[in-house]
């Protein structure tokens, strides 16, 4: 390449143009490279008919067109990026005053106060099951409320379903004739309430588009990024609380009242803050979810292979809680698959996709082995609420992973587009919600509230 002054001037201008383009929401690094090649294609053509590099650049920029318009087209094509442009309107990312962060703080405060309810009115009472349900519902309502405020007016369907779901959760906790405090079915019902609410929250997130598959994909993406942000905030918060307690202790003061308030407020409020960060700051995490899944996919594969080997060596499973543990493994693997699918960059199959298939296959083998072991146990001792819930979960996730594996194989053999995987996971989310609702409402009835 020749290095005369005008040429490097052109490079500089192209560099500036690239920088501007890269700042636009909805345009990623690959897009910038691709459009640069396009721009330079125009420049070359114009130079060959006698324009100077500077002139050629100006005309080429004009031809490629308004960056904003291009970015918009890109964003609209890629729904992965579209949801952010929806959120980030008005288009220019200028200062928006205090209303937006202010509202976020209000809803975060509400969520925090709701979380504080878990402690009952005073610390000594401890949390009853109902207050736990109330606290969880409150946090979800605060988050939904923030969505509704953010993209007002809220869609009627989302308000109705959210309130109905919360009402169902609270009414079952309050009025089902539970046999004892912390009866198995009550505990299960309580544990599945947040799952049900989280799925319903997807409707508030999607707004009008909640019947489309793409909206649920966006919601999955949102949840993945929320988890990452929440974990980061929780780490920082943990350090903050630990240091505060240590300092107060050093002064001979009792740190308990501070912790009693700061921890629940932080735990609840951080959810809204994390949601706000996901929607406002985005790209920091965009690079995290794929990296995290890429790191942990092979590690979990190794773990499960080790588990299989150990099981073969020791000759079976003794622990009766093993089904629950395997359920947890399935949930984690499902999470890895879901978030790597929805955060996947476009392109042909890569090594990471093969590793993912390996993980899914190993998980399926582990699950089949454990299920076989557990089937005998259930036959011997009869069904219990815990076993039914765990088995149901197992089935729900097993179906998801088995079909994911099949789709993944199809993609790797270049028989199907990666889009199929994304759509499968998105469509499946309501299934998970329905199962959770069954455990919240129906299972206690079936087992007579024991």
């Amino acid at each position: 390449m020749s290095v005369n002054p005008t040429e490097s001037g052109l490079d500089q201008q192209v560099g500036l143009w690239r920088e501007q383009l890269a700042k636009r929401p909805g345009v990623d690094a690959g897009d910038v490279d691709e459009l640069t090649d396009h721009l330079l294609g125009h420049v070359d053509a114009l130079e060959s008919v006698g324009l100077s590099p500077d002139e050629a650049f100006l005309v080429a920029v004009k031809r490629v067109g308004d960056q904003h318009a291009i970015a918009r087209e890109f964003a609209e094509e890629n729904s992965a990026r579209l949801w952010r442009t929806l959120v980030l309107e008005p288009e220019e990312p200028g200062p928006k005053g205090w209303r937006d962060p202010g509202a976020m703080l209000v809803f975060a405060m509400l969520a925090g106060l709701a979380a504080r309810l878990t402690f009952g009115v005073s610390m000594d009472e401890g949390g009853s099951q109902f207050t736990v349900a109330l606290a969880g519902s409150g946090v979800f309502l605060a988050l939904a409320g923030w969505f509704w405020w953010r993209r007002r007016p809220p869609v009627l369907a989302s308000v109705v379903t959210m309130l109905a779901a919360v009402a169902v959760g609270l009414l079952t906790q309050a009025f089902y004739p539970w046999r004892s405090d912390w009866a198995d079915t009550q505990f299960l019902s309580l544990m599945h309430l947040p799952i049900m609410l989280a799925v319903v929250l997807g409707i508030a997130h999607a707004r009008r588009a909640w019947r489309t598959v793409a909206a649920w994909t966006d919601y999955l993406r949102f949840v993945g990024e929320l988890v990452v942000y929440y974990a980061l905030i929780a780490l920082g918060g943990g350090v903050l609380v630990g240091l505060t307690a240590a300092l107060l202790d050093m002064l001979g003061l009792n740190p308990e009242p501070v912790i009693e308030w700061v921890v629940p407020l932080g735990v609840g409020g951080a959810i809204v803050v994390a949601a706000w960060l996901v929607e406002a700051k985005k790209s920091a995490v965009e690079n995290m979810a794929p990296v995290l899944t890429a790191v942990f996919t092979p590690l979990f594969t190794v773990l499960l292979l080790g588990f299989l080997t150990a099981m073969a060596a020791t000759g079976g499973i003794e622990d009766r809680d093993v089904l629950i543990i395997v359920d947890l493994v399935l949930v984690v693997v499902w999470g890895l698959v879901v978030f790597s699918v929805v955060s996947r960059r476009d392109g042909p199959p890569r090594l990471g996709d093969w590793l993912q298939l390996a993980l899914v296959l190993v998980t399926l083998v582990v699950d089949v082995v454990v299920l076989a072991a557990m089937a005998g146990r259930i036959q011997e001792f009869g069904a219990s609420p815990n076993k039914v819930a765990a088995l149901g979960e197992n089935l729900v996730l097993l179906v998801n992973l088995a079909w994911s594996g099949w789709l993944l194989l199809g993609f790797l053999r270049r028989r199907r587009p990666v889009l199929d995987l994304e759509r499968w996971q998105s469509r499946y989310l309501p299934v998970v919600g329905v199962w959770a609702a069954v455990v919240v409402v129906v299972l206690p009835l079936v087992f007579g509230f024991r």
Partner: protein
């Protein structure tokens, strides 16, 4: 002449697939080729082409890979997949049906109008 927006949008996917059926290509060259095929009547913008290419890739109809242009800069090349070839066949069938209907209609109009024009002395 300017082709209307809807028509441009409807014909864009079959045109891209068709150009790629001629051989692997990249964005700038695809736009050039389409302009050439339409004798300049179809001037696509970048905002139309690249999102379309990316969508076709997500649907598995084209594949892309990064290569280098002769000048050494990064360039993204696109290739038709088997699914893309099938989609192109489907497009062709449909467009042929539309084209046949229109052609028949134009012919009939010409036949009806021709005597009238003759009678009017032009």
């Amino acid at each position: 002449m300017r082709v209307g927006k809807d028509l441009v949008a409807a014909s864009s996917a079959p045109l891209v697939l068709g150009v790629l059926a001629e051989g692997d290509s990249y964005g700038y060259a695809i736009i050039q080729r389409v302009a050439e095929l339409s004798r300049g009547d179809l001037e696509w913008s970048e905002g139309l082409l690249y999102p379309l290419l990316h969508r076709l890739e997500r649907q598995g109809q084209v594949e892309s890979s990064w290569g280098r242009a002769e000048s050494g800069r990064r360039r993204r090349y696109y290739r038709l997949t088997r699914a893309g070839r099938e989609a192109l066949d489907e497009h062709r069938t449909q467009w042929r049906a539309v084209n046949d209907a229109l052609t028949t209609m134009w012919d009939q109009m010409a036949r009806v109008l021709a005597p009238v024009q003759l009678a009017w002395g032009k």
